[in-house]
């Protein structure tokens, strides 16, 4: 299935892009993160990230569907 990923802050810098669409067999965000972390060399442990699917915070074991938009959120630093 096809998943659209958005990247922010240091993850975007590391990936060298703000978004990408990939073909994946990852069933849940946890597996998807392991896949893209390997591709792009992300060093964050998943415990330090949150995940959003289709614009809403989601658990790491949420089932992914074709066409989903997934964002791995690094620790935030607003304010």
């Amino acid at each position: 299935m096809k998943i659209r990923l958005l990247y922010f802050a240091s993850l975007a810098d590391r990936a060298g892009r703000a978004e990408e669409s990939i073909e994946t067999s990852a069933a849940v965000p946890r597996d998807l993160y392991a896949e893209v972390a390997k591709t792009h060399g992300f060093s964050f442990a998943p415990e330090r990230l949150r995940v959003a699917v289709n614009g809403a915070l989601a658990p790491w074991d949420r089932a992914l569907a074709d066409g989903d938009e997934v964002v791995f959120l690094p620790p935030v630093s607003g304010g």
Partner: protein, 148 residues
């Protein structure tokens, strides 16, 4: 008008203050966060803020809604900047009005703390030595939805 919003242009605190007015309110407390010229002993020359827009606005709105249930408020509002900011620029504005000051002070403090902890906004600091870096605090809880 949404209670929380992102802004890519300067924050107008005077007009936001008017939005807190309510005949039943006995006062307001506001907080302005400014860009300072140093962080952890490094000289800072400017900042960029990046936000995951849709989720940042939803999460900010949720924080303000939670604040109005936790504290006896009349109005609660927050605006956070995105984009390039200079030293001294206002990065965030929080304002609440309430019948009594205790609720207003406590709510304003709670809101800015929750915004810093939860809203998906990231700060890229540019330093005087030419380096720059995204700040990703170690103490940020990585809680997923449903664990709060």
């Amino acid at each position: 008008m949404r209670a929380f919003r992102l802004s890519d242009s300067p924050i107008d605190a005077a007009s936001l203050r008017v939005s807190l007015e309510d005949p039943a309110a006995g006062g307001c407390v506001t907080f302005e966060g400014w860009v300072r010229n140093h962080n952890e002993a490094r000289a800072v020359t400017r900042l960029d803020y990046q936000a995951f827009g849709p989720l940042a606005e939803d999460e900010g709105e949720a924080i303000l809604a939670e604040a109005t249930t936790k504290f006896a408020l009349r109005v609660a509002r927050c605006v956070h900047r995105t984009g390039a900011l200079a030293i001294g620029d206002m990065a965030v504005w929080v304002g609440v009005s309430a019948d009594h000051r205790d609720a207003a002070f406590a709510a304003c403090r709670w809101i800015i703390d929750e915004v810093k902890r939860r809203v998906p906004i990231w700060k890229n600091e540019h330093y005087a030595d030419g380096e720059s870096g995204w700040l990703h605090p170690d103490n940020t809880p990585a809680d997923a939805a449903g664990q709060r």
